[in-house]
Amino acid sequence: MLIIVNGREEQIAQGSALAEYIRSKDLASGEFIYILNEMLIERERLENTILKERDRLEVLKFVGGG
């Protein structure tokens, strides 16, 4: 199925949990901020959040800035 991650379309397996997706990207889940369809997903909910067709996911982090 198709989801949109950071503005780019991506194909993933049906029924994937957000946590699985993060593991597939080799990201340490604690480091980042996950916004699914404009809602912040807290770390403890990553395992139970199942991605759906055309979900919009933003994976963000704080960086240096002035």
């Binding site: 950071n6 994976v59 704080f62 002035g66």
Partner: protein
């Protein structure tokens, strides 16, 4: 001497705010923060690049600092509000530097959109610090909108060109009752001192420190300059004159007969 800066209901220990962009290595940041004595530290929110997911900047900012996430990347008030809400929801606290920029060459702020975002975010309980072009009427609108301070630019972001907008900032300091924090353009400690001598509440410095040959040493140089400038403001500068006025007595010269 009782000279405290209060922002968002908190007493701020240092009038030097520090940005965390452009440092040669993130590992330099903790030492630069320590030597600057800064308590208010800015950072930005960005999408993760999956090919090179860099480390979280928060790892390098001591826990006792006040985090001031900026809304850089926002081109209008809606985008700024969204970034502010995400930063707060992500546990960054409720302070935000509103930065709305649609001009890519000079990175000048859009005051009208900034005022809109400030009004909304102040109502939502944010401590709102808006980056702005130094315009008196807009500064008044930001004050009415509930901003905790106004942050006029001295010169374009990252330009190190100094207090080019000095006369306009002087007017803001005279007319606006919330603190005026000079943000952007300050390139040298002497310029930070000058802003403080004029009565600025604080200065926000990033590029001048981060891109110095020795950022940690420069952080301390700025801290000293900000303290000196503030003390000079409190002491009250002497009047300037067009002609000389001797400092030594004009009587009793040794060659007089």
């Amino acid at each position: 001497m009782d000279d405290k800066l209060f922002l968002g209901g908190r007493e701020i220990s240092s009038r030097l705010f520090l940005g965390t962009g452009k440092f040669p290595a993130k590992t330099v940041i903790p030492a630069a923060i320590a030597r600057s004595g800064s308590q208010v530290i800015t950072m930005a929110l960005r999408r993760v690049d999956f090919d090179s997911p860099a480390e979280n900047i928060l790892t390098y900012i001591p826990k006792e600092c006040i985090l001031l996430p900026n809304t850089s990347g926002a081109r209008n008030s809606d985008e700024a509000v969204r970034i502010a809400r995400i930063a707060r929801a992500a546990g960054c606290g409720s302070w935000v530097k509103i930065e709305v920029i649609s001009d890519n060459k000079y990175l000048l702020p859009d005051n009208a959109e900034t005022i809109k975002a400030a009004a909304l975010l102040a109502k939502e309980g944010f401590v709102v610090l808006p980056y702005m072009s130094p315009d008196l009427m807009d500064a008044r609108r930001l004050q009415e909108a509930g901003a905790a301070a106004v942050m006029p630019l001295g010169a374009p972001i990252g330009s190190n060109r100094g207090l080019k907008t000095k006369e306009l900032i002087r007017i803001l300091i005279d007319e606006i009752s919330i603190p005026v924090i000079v943000d952007a353009g300050i390139g040298k400690p002497s310029e930070a001192a000058e802003a403080m001598e004029m009565g600025a509440g604080a200065v926000l410095v990033n590029t001048a420190i981060a891109t110095a040959r020795d950022p940690v040493l420069m952080a301390e140089a700025f801290a000293l300059a900000v303290k000196a400038g503030r003390q000079a403001y409190l002491a009250g500068l002497g009047a300037t004159k067009d002609y000389a006025e001797a400092s030594s007595p004009l009587t009793g010269f040794l060659q007089e007969r």
